[in-house]
Structure formats: C-alpha cells, structure tokens
C-alpha cells in the first residue's frame, strides 16, 4: 500500500546527526519499503513560538495526502487530515509549550507558568484532542508519552516502542569484559554529560570513561573533565558517526544514560541491544521504563556519588555486568521493525 509518514521538518538545524524523531522517520520509511509498501516522508516546518504555534497545525489540515495510510509521528503532523490516519507519537511536545502543559498537572508551585498563556493552552489542548481522536489507532513510543496523551487529552494510547537506530547491527562483544564506561552525547539533547563526568570522578577505581559526541562541539566537557581531574581516564571522541557506535557500545562495561525526563530511550535500547547494562537515574523518564534496578542495569538517585558507586560495582564485577547486559538484551529482543510496521499498517488491511 502507499503510506505517507508525516512529521515536522526542522530547517537549518545545526550540522550534526539526525534528531531522534528524524531517525525514527527515516527508519520507519525504510522498514515500510522493506515490507513491500511504497512509503515516503512528508515534512512540514512548524514554528516554536506561541503566536504561530497552531499555524502549521492548520496547514496540515489542508495538505493533500493521497495515500492508503497516513502515519503521523509528532506535533503538529498529527493534524494531517486523512480517513486512515494512525498516530504513532515519537513525542508529544509542542515546542515551548508542552513543558508548561505538563507542569500544570504537577502539584506544587509553578512560577514559570505565564498567565497570558491560558487561552493558548486551552486552544492547543482542544485541537490536540480533536486531531488525535480522529486517528484510527494511537500509539506512542513510550509509556511516558502515552501517559501524557491520556492525562492531557483523555485519549487511550497504546505503547509501541521503536527499535533504536542501528538495531540490526548492534550485537554483544564476543567474550571478555568491557574496558570502559560509555556516555553518548547527542547535540540538542540534555543527556547530563556533566553527571557522567562527576560520577566517573567519584569512582574509587580508575575506570576509564568514553564520551562519544555525535556532534562536532563537545561544549564545556573538556574543561569540566579537567576541573574534575579526570585526565587521561576520559576519552572524548568528537563527531562520532553512528556506525562507529556499534563497536563503542559492544566494548563498554556499561553505558551511563541519564537524560532528564526523556520521552525516548534510544541510547539505552542501543546498549541493551549490545548486551551492555545501563546506569541511569530515577528522573530519566522513559529510560526507567527499560532499566529495572539490579535486573537490566542500575537506577541511581542522580547524585555523582551514586553514579560513581554504580560504575564501580559493574567495573569490579564483570559477571554482574554480563548478567545485567544479557537481561537487557533479552528485554529488547522483541523490538523489531516488522512488528512496528505490522501494527501501524494492520489498520489499513483489516
């Protein structure tokens, strides 16, 4: 069948690797083609400011989408109008607006809330409800995104995780123990590399660390590493191309993945695919949906001391690291693109 994958374009994005959503769109189109469908991505830019927040949503209502099935993966692409629309939400962020919408539902003081935004919020949520309610099926890539749709829109949404980038190439190393702890720094994503460095500095053993920067600029990491006295223990790799990650993951003792409230857990899924355990924090969002403490990794309280202790444990006990890594790999064994394609296209052939 003819399938259009609808998503938001980000023009003039700083040079570097694709965003998680861009990866997802590319991989989904590829998987649809592999499954024998005709598939293309349709991308429309969207504005981030409140004034123009709904412009692209309205534009999507008028975009002619002549296909058997439309799969929308983000805001405002799910405003696409099609008799067979499936929403598969990689995120439910409404750039610049969503964090505040989330915050409204959390107890406690919220000084960041801007009073002038009440009507905008009301309008955005009402439109969201109507556009998402049109979808024949609603999926989200994580429980966290699905829960947000339920809380804000009152719409049931099933979780359908995406396999991570390089999923079919990532594999466990052939025997032996890992030789460093790995942190992957993606541009534009707050992965809390600083916490990784501080955790590394807090270890009792001189465990080597590797930061794989997918972008060109490592930011303040070199200065931070020097300040923490990490010296030659830290290897900062700049401009790492995704294929190089295959070996980096495979030879790691553990991966430290500690984003703040992440909607997706791609790095964690890549680590699991490689049979490597993950050290994370309790506030890392969807990462914690995958990392079960003492089962597939170690969940810390987010302090440098706790992250350091977790690294120490895994470095000192290769058998523990191997056991957790194997459990992680088993945990993601079912993640496959043919399953995703089957779920998303099943609606069109029923």
């Amino acid at each position: 069948m003819d399938v259009l994958v609808c998503a938001t374009q980000v023009p003039f994005r700083p040079a570097g690797p694709a965003s998680a959503t861009e990866d997802l769109v590319g991989d989904l189109v590829g998987a649809l083609l592999d499954a024998g469908h005709r598939a293309e991505a349709v991308l429309v830019p969207a504005a981030a400011d409140r004034e123009r927040l709904l412009d692209a949503a309205l534009a999507w209502r008028l975009v002619p989408l002549d296909a058997d099935l439309v799969i929308a993966v983000d805001f405002p692409a799910y405003f696409a109008r099609h008799r067979r629309k499936v929403a598969w939400l990689a995120d439910h962020h409404r750039r610049g607006a969503d964090l505040e919408a989330d915050a409204v539902l959390e107890p406690g003081p919220h000084p960041e809330l801007d009073g002038s935004w009440s009507e905008d919020l009301r309008q955005v949520v009402d439109w969201d409800i109507r556009a998402l309610a049109e979808a024949r099926y609603r999926y989200a890539v994580s429980d966290r995104v699905a829960d947000r749709v339920r809380r804000q829109c009152g719409l049931s949404t099933a979780t359908l995780p995406a396999p991570p980038p390089l999923a079919d190439r990532l594999a466990p190393r052939r025997g032996g123990a890992g030789s460093y702890v790995l942190h992957v720094a993606r541009p534009g994503v707050d992965e809390r590399a600083g916490l990784f460095l501080a955790g590394l500095a807090a270890t009792r053993r001189p465990v080597p660390g590797v930061v794989a920067c997918l972008g060109r600029s490592p930011g303040t990491l070199p200065a931070d590493a020097e300040r923490l006295g990490l010296g030659e223990r830290l290897h900062l790799l700049r401009g790492v191309r995704p294929p190089a990650l295959v070996d980096l993951f495979a030879n790691a003792i553990a991966v430290v993945h500690t984003p703040i409230d992440a909607d997706q857990a791609q790095v964690t899924l890549q680590a699991f695919r490689s049979g490597v355990p993950v050290v994370t924090t309790a506030d890392s969002g969807s990462v914690v949906e995958w990392v079960t403490h003492e089962v597939t990794g170690l969940v810390t309280d987010g302090s440098a001391r706790a992250v350091g202790a977790a690294i120490d444990r895994l470095a000192a006990d290769p058998a523990l690291a191997a056991r957790l890594g194997a459990a992680g790999r088993a945990r993601v064994a079912d993640l496959a693109w043919d399953r995703v394609v089957g779920a998303l296209t099943g609606v069109a052939v029923r």
Binding site: L54, L58, R61, W117, L121, R150, C153, G154, S156
Partner: protein
C-alpha cells in the same frame, strides 16, 4: 439592512423557543409577532412559530413551526411552513428538524480541558481540587465561571448541557443521567445522594486520566446530542436567513477551522484571516 425574524408564540409555548431563537436569530433583528403591525414596524422576513396554533395569523413569509405530534406536523404542511421543528424523535422520521429538549449552543462555549482548568485555578489561587455543586436553573456569569474552573462538578439541574459543553468533569444523579441519555462512567459519573456525589466528584478531581476522558466525552456528547447550533443552522438555511458562505480556498480553510470547533475569537482564526487577506478582496471569492 438585516433580516427581521419574528417570534410568534402562544403563552404556554414561548419559553421552549428561547434557546433556539437566540441562535436562529443571530445576525437578524428579532421582533415579537403581533397581528397589528404598524407601517413603521419592521416587516418580518421570516417567522419562528412556537405552535401550529398561530399559523393562521402569520404573514406569507418563510416560516418555521414547532410541532409536538403528527397532527401538528400535518397542520404545518398544510400551511406550507418551510420547516417543522420538534423534540419528538418520531416526528424527525417524518421530516421535522430535531431540537434537543435541553440544549445549549455548544460553539458559544469553548471547551476547557482539565489541564487548562488547572492552569486557570493556579493563576487565580484557587484550590487544585476545586469541586463545586451546581443546581441553578439559569447560567449567570458566576455560574459559568465556576463550571469553567472546577476540577469536577456535581450538576443536577438544567445547566447540565452547559457543564458538558464546557468540558466540566460531571457527577450527576441517576435520574438526570437517564433523562439526558448519559452513560455512567462514559460521559458522566453517576452517584445517588449529595454525599455520594460529593465523594465521587472529589475522586474524579484527583484522577487526571479519568477527568480528562470524562471531559472529552462529555463535550462530544454535548456536540452530538445537545447542540442547538446545528438545528438552528438548518432552520436558518430553510428560512433564507443564511447570508453567504465562503467558497474556494477560504471556504476550505474556514471549514477546517470549524471542524476543529475553533471559537470565533481564537487567535488562529485571526492568523488565518491575515494569511488569506491578500487573496480575498474580490467578491468572486464569496459564493451567494
């Protein structure tokens, strides 16, 4: 010069037409029909009659008439009334336009999902779990505000349609739910007695997912079953009171805004108007 819509009513049937008249009469001059119109009085261009009993006295202009039974429908047809209106489902099958017995002009009330209510409450310093009980017969500004802000509301009176249109998570009694055709746990929560209703409303206020789902379904119920706007639009069309409908790209854009139930004063409508402005100065864009 705007159209003149006359209301022709009997003393016992006038009240039921108020809600519908307020919507049908939008953009027209609404007058009360009486037999002895002075020459200076505005002459009606259409009439809304609340009973077939007044049909004999009316001028020869397009007329909508409220009917209650088949005899009324027969009399409406005999008088060549343009349209019959009824709350009786039986008569709808015979051509009458259905009007909800307890209706609300849904488009007039922008829905406030729980997340938007929570923001308003926070800005106003109101309790996060604000629960109210409303059994008032009339929607005053205060009552509308309360219903718009509440995390959940116990509503037992005629303002239930308004509460649902506003997206208020509602708890009501079993009799009221039955009367409106509302399903317990789907569009409303149902509880018997004030204490149980209060407990149910507090539980609802504390349950994000449930409140959001109830709000959404309640609003949809109001749009589908309690809306006066749709029958009013049909009546306006049949009476010739509809002025013009935008055609072409502007019409499609407006249709998209309408299908998302966008309020008239929404910012996005202004932005759509601004985007179309260079292309819509010509009368050719507007179809009669």
């Amino acid at each position: 010069m705007s159209a003149v819509l006359a209301l022709a009513a009997t003393p016992t049937t006038a009240r039921r037409a108020i809600g519908l008249l307020s919507v049908v009469g939008l953009g027209t001059e609404v007058v009360s029909w009486h037999r002895a119109f002075a020459a200076t009085d505005p002459q009606p261009t259409a009439v809304l009659a609340t009973s077939p009993d007044v049909l004999d006295e009316l001028p020869d202009v397009p007329t909508a008439v409220w009917v209650d039974d088949r005899e009324g429908l027969r009399r409406a047809l005999a008088h060549d009334a343009e349209v019959a209106i009824s709350t009786s489902p039986d008569l709808v099958d015979h051509g009458a336009i259905p009007v909800p017995r307890w209706g609300v002009e849904v488009a007039r009330w922008p829905v406030l999902p729980p997340v938007a209510r929570a923001l308003h409450r926070r800005q106003l310093g109101l309790p996060e779990d604000l629960v109210v009980a409303v059994d008032h017969p009339v929607a005053t500004d205060d009552i509308v505000t309360v219903l718009a802000l509440a995390a959940a509301a116990v509503v037992s009176g005629p303002l239930l349609p308004l509460a649902l249109a506003l997206g208020t998570p509602v708890v009501t009694g079993p009799e009221t739910a039955r009367r409106f055709g509302l399903q317990a746990g789907i569009e409303v929560e149902v509880a018997s007695g004030p204490a149980a209703a209060d407990r149910a409303a507090r539980a609802l206020a504390a349950y994000d997912h449930g409140a959001a789902a109830l709000s959404r379904r309640g609003r949809r119920f109001a749009e589908r079953h309690l809306d006066l706007g749709r029958p009013a639009e049909l009546v306006r069309q049949r009476l010739g009171l509809v002025s013009s409908v935008a055609a072409g790209p502007p019409g499609r854009l407006l249709a998209r805004l309408d299908e998302l139930a966008t309020p008239p004063d929404a910012r996005i409508r202004s932005r759509a108007d601004a985007a179309l402005a260079p292309f819509t100065p010509s009368e050719r864009m507007i179809a009669p």
